[in-house]
């Protein structure tokens, strides 16, 4: 997605923050939310519903993190800080899944 608008502003820490098209991201989020509600009531197998809903939820979360929280435009050093808990979350998910293996 190439969302960067024409104007860039300094966030006060010496980095130019390109300003994405915030309303376009909002529209994506709205459409995905409506799609989620629709999918939840489709007459298809439950595993397909769950998979679709999780994909759309992660998609929405990524849109918020990348564009509204500006992670897409932050230096890699800060991205590393932001992503630091994800390995721990992945380990926790694996341990939880082992309950059902």
């Amino acid at each position: 997605m190439s969302e960067a608008g024409s104007h860039a502003a300094d966030g006060g820490d010496g980095h130019a923050h390109p300003q994405p098209k915030y309303m376009l991201i909002w529209l994506y989020l709205l459409i995905l939310t409506l799609a989620e509600v629709g999918v939840a009531f489709l007459a298809i197998p439950k595993w397909m519903i769950v998979t679709s809903l999780l994909v759309m939820a992660v998609w929405k979360a990524l849109l918020v993190a990348l564009y509204y929280m500006h992670l897409k435009f932050e230096p890699n050093r800060l991205r590393m800080v932001a992503l630091a808990p994800l390995p721990a979350v992945a380990i926790m998910i694996l341990v939880i899944m082992m309950e059902y293996v």
Partner: protein, 204 residues
């Protein structure tokens, strides 16, 4: 006067990001683990006792919650617009967008209180009247997860009200954007968590 051992060296750049922003991201990392713990325990409990959970829409009202989700997403847009207005030194924009974010956050809380009231007073679950936190695993996990999220929204609304008050005093501007950006990071995180909770708790 510079210390003799450091004289002539360039200052360390660290993360090259201002301290408050790094601090907020570190705090949000701890919040990720907090909500991951809640959601993880919900998944374990739910799949361990699938018969004590209702199908989507049977107990919880999806329509009004979808509207609430929409409201929180709108508040994320107004929050990020407030930050953009601060960077552009647009005082009217800062005031209006911060006020809108505060009101949307308060509206989300109001609807959540209404939802809780309806559930406690009128919902039917497993043959009994009222869906309360005492209604088994389903009730306990539902109110714990949405309640903790609501508490985070409440804290955000209080901080937003404070930021809005300062905006009307002309506090924010091109040279003072950090407070709005850091508060925005918290607010967007609250929105992000709700996106996950809405899917897992209401739709699956």
């Amino acid at each position: 006067m510079a210390h003799a051992a450091t004289a002539g060296r360039a200052p360390e750049r660290g993360l090259d990001v201002y301290t408050q922003k790094v601090g907020m991201w570190v705090f949000l990392c701890s919040e990720v683990m907090f909500f991951a713990g809640l959601i993880g325990s919900y998944v374990v409990l739910r799949f361990g006792a699938a018969d004590v959970w209702a199908e989507p829409g049977d107990v919880l009202a999806i329509g009004i919650t979808a509207v609430n989700t929409f409201i929180l997403i709108c508040s994320s847009v107004t929050m990020v617009k407030a930050f953009a207005a601060a960077e552009a030194d647009d005082q009217k924009g800062i005031r209006n967008y911060l006020l809108a974010t505060t009101l949307l956050g308060a509206l989300f809380l109001g609807i959540q209180v209404y939802e809780y009231t309806e559930l406690v007073l009128h919902a039917e679950w497993q043959g009994s009247h009222g869906f309360t936190p005492q209604a088994g695993l389903y009730g306990a996990t539902f109110y714990t997860m949405t309640g903790f999220h609501g508490f985070h929204v409440l804290l955000g609304v209080v901080c937003l009200a404070w930021a809005t008050k300062r905006a009307y005093a002309g506090h924010w501007g091109k040279d003072n954007t950090h407070g709005i950006e850091v508060l925005g990071l918290y607010w967007h995180f609250v929105d992000l968590v709700w996106i996950i909770l809405f899917t897992i708790v209401y739709l699956i």
